[in-house]
């Protein structure tokens, strides 16, 4: 059986002035139907660009896919016309973004927006709104987005994403603007819907703790590449890339009381900055001379020459 989503050799570039630089480089990723995969990393690592490239919804219209292939249920998306892609967005591919206010149409009532996105065979609009935990679906359906609280808007956005019964759901920091109690409820909803409907979910987040809690597999991105990918349980206990270990150590929940929080020294290479060797080398505690000259390939789930030496 072919995977639901199969990305091969994907490179994506952003424009800055007259120059272009790669935000995602030679990236491979596979997602099975019904699987929840989290992509984690610091801002600027390319995780949102990766997600945007799947449906070609770039924040900057000058961004473009340079090479590679993105297949959804076997069908190639790269090179597809804008018109064909538009048909897939909202039907085969659903979205939940961080900013529900921006994602919902401000001049259309919530119910009408969901009705518009509904496919035959989907639950009714009111049923969808009830399913995402909105207590008064009739009132919400008749409301404009600005009349709802932030939490209600985010729930409405989830209902809208589910209305098209997508095969693939793309979620970019869907809860980072919400308090953790609400955030948890929204993620429970998303993950529950994926299990029930056999949807695939790609969850982009900068919180590794969230990724470990909700995803079956976690991909860690750094400077436009995946540096580690593993089952969540394994990654949480046996990181095999120094960057993953550093991210885990920076999780406040793993910091003992009264101790300093663990920051990762230095900064990721700036966008467009040329990198030779391993991009993480300047910040790495395990770095050797070799790392500064040769780029470690992603092999056996880790892009580190010394993955056996990584300690949590």
């Amino acid at each position: 059986m072919s995977p639901l989503l199969e990305i091969r050799g994907l490179s994506v570039s952003h424009a800055r002035g007259a120059r272009r630089f790669l935000a995602v480089e030679e990236l491979d990723l596979v997602l099975a139907a019904g699987e929840v995969l989290a992509v984690v990393g610091e801002s600027g690592c390319g995780k949102s660009t990766l997600l945007a490239s799947i449906a070609r919804l770039f924040a900057d219209p000058r961004s473009r896919i340079e090479s590679g292939s993105i297949r959804l249920a076997g069908g190639e998306l790269v090179g597809l016309s804008e018109e064909r892609l538009r048909l897939l967005r909202g039907s085969a591919i659903g979205f939940v973004f961080q900013d529900a206010q921006a994602a919902l149409n401000p001049v259309l009532r919530v119910g009408a927006q969901i009705e518009e996105g509904r496919r035959s065979g989907s639950a009714s609009t009111l049923e969808l709104l009830a399913r995402v935990g909105l207590p008064e679906p009739e009132r919400v359906a008749a409301s404009f987005p600005h009349q709802l609280s932030g939490g209600m808007r985010q729930r409405a956005l989830v209902a809208l994403a589910l209305a098209g019964r997508p095969q693939l759901l793309l979620a970019d920091e869907p809860t980072s603007a919400l308090d953790p109690v609400l955030g948890r409820e929204i993620l429970d909803l998303l993950v529950g819907a994926c299990r029930r409907e056999g949807m695939g979910l790609v969850l982009v987040t900068h919180e590794i703790a969230l990724a470990l809690r909700y995803a079956q597999r976690v991909a860690v991105m750094y400077a436009g590449r995946i540096v580690e990918i593993a089952r969540a349980q394994e990654l949480g206990t046996h990181a095999r890339h120094p960057y993953t270990a550093a991210l885990l150590a920076s999780d406040p929940a793993r910091t003992p009381r009264g101790q300093r929080f663990r920051a990762i020294p230095g900064a990721a290479p700036a966008a467009g900055e040329p990198v030779t060797g391993c991009a993480f080398a300047p910040r790495c505690t395990l770095v050797r001379e070799h790392c500064r000259h040769a780029r470690p390939p992603l092999a056996g789930g880790s892009a580190c020459f010394f993955s056996e030496e990584v300690r949590p």
């Binding site: 308090d179 929940a253 929080f261 663990r262 920051a263």
Partner: protein
């Protein structure tokens, strides 16, 4: 016990035109040198509380006592642009505050105190990373030799690594300067690491307040339990 840096008693705050008050009968003290965390779900009144303490919002009833000079209680926002002029370079922004308030000290010393390289003095806020910008906002507050910092979710928009740096800075400042810190956060994992006391708000009321370690281990109200659970503690 020493005099609190600031203290609210039975405070009621109502936003203009709102039927329900945003804070109801709230009493809370911030003591010198303590690290007080204020937690609660969205809409519980955390930011209103901070704004009331900073006199940015009037009280409908109740009292606010600030026992230090007004400028010695400084506010730090989630979005550092709220206190930084985007057209002013980092060094100039600090010089200006020092000059206007006739303070000793230099921009270079303030930058160094918050762990920013001297070279960053020539940068505009947008040329700094989110974490650097937040440290600059803290440096600006330090220029006024505060006795207390009111911090409204200063790290919730930051990456884990920048978050760690800013939080470590707060812990250092408190130790070095004896600063009182009131930190609004909804992340109880942070609270467990650094706070002395925890106050939990729900619908504008203070529903729990006490030693952070005890409350996290044995929350007595549902609001705290939900937050503890969501933090994965």
């Amino acid at each position: 016990m020493s005099l609190p840096v600031c203290e609210l008693r039975d405070a009621v705050v109502r936003h203009r035109g709102a039927a329900r008050p945003a804070l109801t009968g709230l009493s809370l003290q911030l003591f010198p040198g303590e690290f007080l965390a204020v937690a609660g779900e969205s809409g519980s009144g955390k930011s209103t509380l901070v704004r009331a303490l900073a006199r940015h919002l009037p009280l409908e009833s109740g009292t606010l006592a600030v026992n230090v000079e007004r400028h010695r209680l400084q506010l730090v926002f989630q979005d550092p642009y709220a206190s930084l002029d985007p057209r002013q370079r980092a060094g100039a922004a600090l010089e200006e505050v020092l000059h206007v308030h006739r303070r000793e000290g230099s921009a270079a010393a303030l930058l160094s105190e918050v762990g920013l390289a001297a070279a960053l003095a020539d940068r505009f806020p947008h040329e700094l990373s989110g974490g650097e910008r937040q440290r600059l906002a803290i440096a600006r507050a330090l220029a006024l030799e505060p006795a207390g910092l009111l911090l409204d979710e200063p790290v919730s928009a930051l990456d884990p690594s920048h978050r760690a740096q800013v939080l470590n800075l707060l812990v250092e400042l408190r130790a070095r300067r004896g600063l009182a810190c009131l930190l609004v956060t909804h992340d109880l994992a942070l609270v467990r690491v650094l706070a002395d006391r925890l106050a939990v708000l729900e619908e504008g009321r203070l529903v729990e307040c006490g030693p952070a370690v005890e409350l996290l281990a044995r929350p007595t109200v549902a609001a705290t339990r939900r937050l503890v659970e969501a933090a994965g503690l």
